[in-house]
Structures are given as structure tokens and as C-alpha cells.
Symmetry: C2
Subunit: 344 residues, 2 copies
């Protein structure tokens, strides 16, 4: 049987264990998995684009376990009451090819994206960073805030969104979580004095939510909304101001902020920093940029954390996804008229 | 909610409606979809190979509906009581990116592979074909037999397998289904006098289950077991004896029998025959070869047939796969401690 973690089970798991603790556990698995980078059979995700959005499959394998995520990105979905991003994913046993876990990943993706951002910031932001600007206060924003508090120590948030209702929503949520929230009058206002700038907007176009004249020495930029061809957030001159870190170069060249610059623009893959082979931040005034697009490895890590977390619990149910004929070569017995087939 | 058709529901649906009728309905959708070939966003499947087998994702979209299948192929699985091939798949709405159907596809793949083979044979085999040789009597063999009877008129089967227990099993099933079955002493014996030769073996290697000296004028060869790099069934000289038809050339060049010959070896894509743009069989003595590997389009068609078939029925249940916050930008409300978050 395959364990199926539906939305209700995922909600109950996150509420019972706590979003902060889960983000921490996912970050631990992400860091472990990035350090064993060479174990993975990696590929840029496979995207199917349409006028309203994109549907993607993100497979990866470490030779023992295979995982993939299905995820969509439809920026106009909220206008019709739907979410921009929804997702689900699977883990399977490489040795047999049989699936073992099927899970909703709309919530899990929000947790893993936040875990990835905050874990990277731990390597790249100034250690005394306490204030974060959040450009974009949609679905991802509260998860980012929780993760940056848990892993980096962020206490104070400066927010901006073109949708004032989304700012209202965020302010209520974040205040309830104990954050000091400053509601900015513009993106420029939000970034003033921030140690970290997180951009998490959803427009499927080359938008410029941040221009280079407002990037100050020592800041860490966590750019997570530019994650599709033709979908970026940063003024490309910002990329010249600092050092750019990426998850998996072949995918980021297509999808990330660096799609705006030359194909040989220098970047550092994060796994090398996790391993200690190269440095993250090297000086107080250095500008660091995490050009994040979301890589299959992070979903694999999140699914592993979920799988470990729900093992032996009632979070989720076992479903009948794989046919099991008594004789593996007699699949037909499962569907034959009992009068006309041999016993399976 | 997403409709989930589990194994029990699939079994009940196939038993109630009848495998033969379902194969016919899938063949109709396959033919319709092949004729509108240009509507589809196509890609060769994405394979992850391991020593024991392969796990593949097979996505496709027609701009309205997106579908994908997860499928494994592990030739040694039956030795440990598992099936060589298991699968599941999803249909989603391109406009919103939301999934709508999730289904077991171990059984459905067996039905669609048979539907594809028999539909192609209707274009390529002699119309008076009544006798089929079956090399390989594993999971796929009964489904092939049913489809070739329903669509082509095959009544008599000449079988061979290196596993005599698998031949016993097939003989019982096929006799129960009303076929005349001749149990051959070798592959060579099986193909003698056959109008159609179907090879459906599972070895993950370049096996030669059929050599060119036993290929007679007018025969149609339905080669479905060679479907991976390094996994073929036919002596490559057979390919020189006739005309080779394929599903989707970029994938078949990597996976099919034609991986054994030059990259510019001439082949005809079946959609052109379905459309009437080129001929299938043109003479009684022509040797025709369907170098079948299984293409995502066929799974898409099968999932569509299933979706239509189970609409408004109790075959399957609705599952909670996509989180639905009341405010689409307030995903966090679904997992927040109720005391600390605004109402979703």
C-alpha cells in the first residue's frame, strides 16, 4: 500500500508539530542532501507552458529513493479564488520501482521553499541580521517569516505588496506570530535599512520589484519569485553588485534572475558552500544574492522529512495504488470475468 | 476535489464494462488524438535508470488538458512476487493548473498498450489476419489477445515463453476466453504461419527473440517489449526487410528497436497514417513493423477514456489533494495555530 497524505492530514501534522519545527527539520534534510550532491541523478524540471501559467514535473533520484513533484504556477489564479501554486508529490523505491508515499505539496512546498531560503541565508546573510523586507505578501510570505526567525533570527519585517488586502492579511498573521511589522508605502520604503530583502511576487513577466539604487552594502537578497522563463523580479544591474548563489545552474540559467544576463555569468552552486568547499559571505559589506528557483532536491528532502514524520502515525491513509495479482504475470486475473480466467 | 480511481475501482470498472469494450473505447480516443497530433506539446519521456530497472515520467498536454504517467519497468520483479510494470497517472486542467483525476494505471496501461497495438495493426496487418504469434506470455499477453480479437479479428494464438509456468497461465486464461491456443516448442515454431507476430518480453537487454530468417512475406510484426535504451527484441536485420512505423520518432530513436540502426533509418510516424497522409500496408507481401515503445499520448487518451467512463459513477472516490484556503493568498491560515492567525 502507498501512504497518502491528503490536505487534511498535512494540516493536522503541521498544526500538531508546529510549522517552525517542521521548517527546521526540512532545512536539516535539505542541508544533508545538498552536501551529498553527487549522489543525485539531476535534471532541470520539465515545464509545460500555457498562456495562463505553467505545469511542471520535478523528478530526482539518489539511487535508493526516487521522488517527483507536480507543481503549477498560475499568477492570475487568486483573481478567481484559486491559488497561484498548488502541488503534490511522490516518493518511490528505486529498487522495485514501486511508489511508497503520495502527498499534497501545496502546503509542503510553502514549508520547503521557506526552509531553503532561510537555510541559504544562514550561509549568506550577515549573522546579526534581524530585519527583513518582504516584497510580496502572498501565500509564501508567512512561511518565509517563520523560517527566517527560526533559522536566522529575524524579528522585524518591513512589508510591501501592490495588493493592500494581501498586506492586511499578512499584518494580521505576522502580528499574531509576534513579529514587529512595518507596513511600507512602497518597495523602496520597505527595503530601507533591511538586512535581508526577500522578493516573493508572482507576476509571470519580467517585473522589476527592486532596482539597484536601493541595494545597500551588506544586504542579502533572497529572490524567490523569478522562477520561470520570462518571469524575473530584479533589475539585472543588481546582479553585478554582488555574488550570486544558485541551486542547480542548468535550471537557474533558464528560469532564474540570471536569465537576464550572459550565459557565462559567474554563479556559485550552494552545495559547494554547504560542503565548505567555497565561502558564502566573506565580508560585512558584501552583497549576496540567492537566485532561487526551487529545485527538485528540495522537494525530495521535504518529502523525506514528511515520510519520516508520519511513519507509524495516523497522518494520512494507506491507499490501493498498485495492483497486486497473486501471480505477478497474471495481471489479467484481476479484471477477468471470474468464470473465464484462472485464479490470480 | 480530485477523483481518485484506485485499484479496486479500476478492477470493478473493467469487470463491469468489460475489458474488450474498454480496449475499443481507448482505441477510439487514441485514434482521435493521433489525428490531432499538432495539438499536443510533446516530449520524449524522462527516464531515471538504475541497475534493476527504470522509472519514467511521461507528460503531455493538448493546451486544454495536461496528463502524465509515472511508470516503472523492472524485469526481475516477478522473481520476488512483484510486477515488472506498475503505473499511475494524473489529468489536470491547463487553465488553472489544478489536477482533476488521479488513477492507478497498472491495469490501465495494459489496456492502452493493447489498444495501441491492435489499432496500429488495423492499419498495418493484412485485413484477413486471424492467427497471431505471441512471444512472451506475461502480464501484457491476455490484453493483447483481447484487443487483437476485438479490433483485428484474431482468433488463433501461437504462444512461446521461456517461462513454462507463464505459458500454463496464459493457456488457461486464453482458452477460457475462447481462443484456439497452440503451445509452441520455440519462438521459431510459434511464428510459423502466423499473420501477426507480437513480441512482448521484458528482459532489459538486447535480446533476440526473433531472427530474420523466420520472417515471412506479408507478416505484421508488433514489437512492444523493446522500450528502453539497451532493451530490444528483434534481430536488427529484420528492420531492413519491411517498413517501420513508430509513435514519436525522438523517443523511439532512443528506446525502440531502431536504436540498433543508424539515426537516419527511415521510419513513418503513425499519426500520418491515421490522418491518411501516407499509406499503412500497401501490398499483401509487404512486411510491416510497428516499433512500439509506448508514448505519453496513449496514456493521455486512456486517462481521458477513463475520466469519461467514470464520470458520475461510484468508480473511485473524491480526495482532498489541493489545499483550498478561503483567501487564496492566506495559505498560512490552514496550518496556523487558530489563536495566532487571521481567519482563512
Amino acid at each position: 500500500m502507498v501512504r497518502f497524505v491528503d490536505v487534511a492530514s498535512m494540516r493536522r501534522w503541521v498544526r500538531d508539530v508546529g510549522a517552525e519545527k517542521i521548517v527546521q527539520s526540512i532545512a536539516e534534510v535539505i542541508e544533508h542532501d545538498f552536501r551529498r550532491w553527487d549522489d543525485f541523478d539531476k535534471i532541470a524540471r520539465i515545464a509545460s507552458h500555457s498562456p495562463r501559467g505553467v505545469i511542471e514535473l520535478m523528478p530526482i533520484s539518489d539511487g535508493q529513493t526516487y521522488g517527483f513533484k507536480y507543481v503549477n504556477g498560475h499568477p492570475d489564479n487568486p483573481d478567481r479564488g484559486l491559488q497561484t501554486v498548488t502541488a503534490f508529490g511522490v516518493l518511490a523505491d528505486v529498487d522495485s520501482g514501486y511508489p511508497v508515499l503520495w502527498a499534497e505539496m501545496t502546503i509542503l512546498t510553502a514549508l520547503r521553499t521557506a526552509a531553503m531560503s532561510a537555510s541559504a541565508a544562514r550561509l549568506l546573510a550577515r549573522p546579526d541580521s534581524r530585519t527583513m523586507a518582504l516584497i510580496g505578501t502572498g501565500s509564501q510570505s508567512e512561511f518565509q517569516s517563520i523560517a527566517f526567525r527560526a533559522l536566522v533570527g529575524v524579528e522585524s519585517l518591513r512589508i510591501w505588496d501592490t495588493d493592500s488586502a494581501a498586506m492586511d492579511k499578512f499584518e494580521r498573521n505576522a502580528t499574531g506570530l509576534g513579529f514587529a511589522v512595518y507596513r511600507a508605502a512602497s518597495a523602496t520604503d520597505a527595503v530601507a535599512g533591511a538586512d535581508i530583502v526577500t522578493t516573493c511576487t508572482a507576476d509571470k513577466q519580467n517585473a522589476t520589484v527592486l532596482t539597484s539604487d536601493f541595494v545597500t552594502p551588506g544586504v542579502h537578497i533572497n529572490a524567490i519569485g523569478g522562477d520561470c522563463p520570462g518571469k524575473t523580479e530584479l533589475d539585472p544591474t543588481i546582479l553585478q553588485l554582488g555574488d550570486v548563489f544558485v541551486e542547480y545552474t542548468p535550471q537557474t540559467r533558464i528560469e532564474g534572475e540570471i536569465q537576464q544576463v550572459a550565459g557565462d555569468f559567474p554563479v556559485t552552486e550552494l552545495w559547494r558552500v554547504y560542503r565548505g568547499e567555497v565561502s558564502g559571505r566573506v565580508s560585512r559589506d558584501q552583497i549576496t544574492i540567492f537566485d532561487s528557483v526551487g529545485f527538485a532536491l528540495e522537494d525530495f528532502s521535504a518529502l523525506q522529512a514528511l515520510h519520516d514524520g508520519v511513519q507509524g502515525t495516523d497522518y494520512g491513509v494507506d491507499v490501493d495504488l498498485v495492483a497486486k495479482p497473486a501471480d505477478p504475470k497474471n495481471l489479467f486475473a484481476l479484471v477477468a470475468d471470474p468464470a473465464s480466467a484462472s485464479a490470480g
